[in-house]
Structure formats: C-alpha cells, structure tokens
Symmetry: C2
Subunit: 106 residues, 2 copies
C-alpha cells in the first residue's frame, strides 16, 4: 500500500490543502506528518503529471520564501473536494452498511 | 502515504478479491504484488476490525489448505464494489475535468 506515484489521490490533495494553509512545503509536510522529502516528491509528481504545475515557489520575504498553489492547483483542489462530497453522498447507504459491520471503535 | 491500518480501503478490497480468485493468501498476495507478511497483516486487520471475519482458512487438500472469503467477506466485497461504481458515476463530470488537466500517459 505504499503510494504508487499516481497523479492525484487523497494524500496528495491533503498536502495541497496544507501547503495552501501554511504557505510552504515544509510546514505543509509537518502538518500532514510527512517528511520534507516525501512531501517534495509528492509535489514533484503532481507538477509533472499535470499539464500545468499545481504548486509554485514564492520568492523573497523574511523566511526566504515558501510555496503556494497556482490557480490550477486551487482549481484541482476545489474539484477534488467537490468530487469527494458528491461521492460520499452517492454511496451513503452502502457505506452505512459497511460501517455497521465494523466493531465499535475504542 | 504508507497505509495507516484503517479497516477497509482499495488495497484491502483488491486483496480480498485476489484471495477469492486464487484460493489462498499467499497466491492473492503474489497477484497483488504484496509480500506474504503484508497481505497477512492486512487480512488480520480486516478480521479484527469487522464484527465477523472476512477471510477464513480452508483446511486440507493437497497444498495443505488455503483461504477463502466468508459469507460476510463476500458481502463486504460486493458492497464495496457497488459503492465504487456509484461513486464513479456520481463524480463523472469533475473526474473528467481533472483527467483532462493531466498530461497524456506515456
């Protein structure tokens, strides 16, 4: 189950969101519990798989610059979240059936 | 992105299907490109997270026995695949938009 490098999935989307919130790849990685190297690789994969990059460096400032989502990155993030909402709504009954089959969480 | 041990996800469901097809955990693992240890751990997690086990050992026979899905395992597998179909149908337009934003696969 270690991530094959597909273009986009829940882990990458969570990272995009964290980069947008924190303004840097390293802080985003920290928020998601990823190593900087792992986060950087995920960003690199996304930037290479999409026609336009999703994350860009921000130069200057006190901390020596950070990173932010491009307009394309924000569009993809929004589209993915909308997809999740629709998917969850669609699978409601089956999802509940599976949930009921699980032992209660401790 | 290394799998946190949640009860069920695409990797575990693919493994269930492979066990059903091959009649053993080791052959199912091979089919999915997992080590036997990893597959066994995934099965163990599922069997412990659900109220009823999803996979059971089959005793006897030439090869010294194998494994198969329980009735509950088959029910969960079927429910999950139905969920996927519904989810994919629901997210059609957004999914196409994201697909179009990707570079063509080589």
């Amino acid at each position: 189950m270690a991530g094959k490098d597909i273009a986009l999935g829940p882990g990458k989307v969570d990272l995009l969101e964290a980069i947008e919130e924190t303004g840097s790849i390293s802080a985003g990685a920290r928020q998601r519990g990823l190593s900087y190297r792992r986060a950087w690789n995920l960003v690199d994969t996304m930037n290479h798989c999409f026609k336009q990059p999703l994350v860009e460096r921000v130069k200057g400032g006190k901390g020596g610059g950070g990173a932010k989502l491009t307009a394309e990155g924000r569009r993809i993030l929004k589209g993915y979240r909308e997809m999740e909402t629709k998917a969850l709504k669609a699978i409601g009954p089956e999802w509940k059936t599976i949930q009921k089959s699980l032992k209660p969480q401790k």
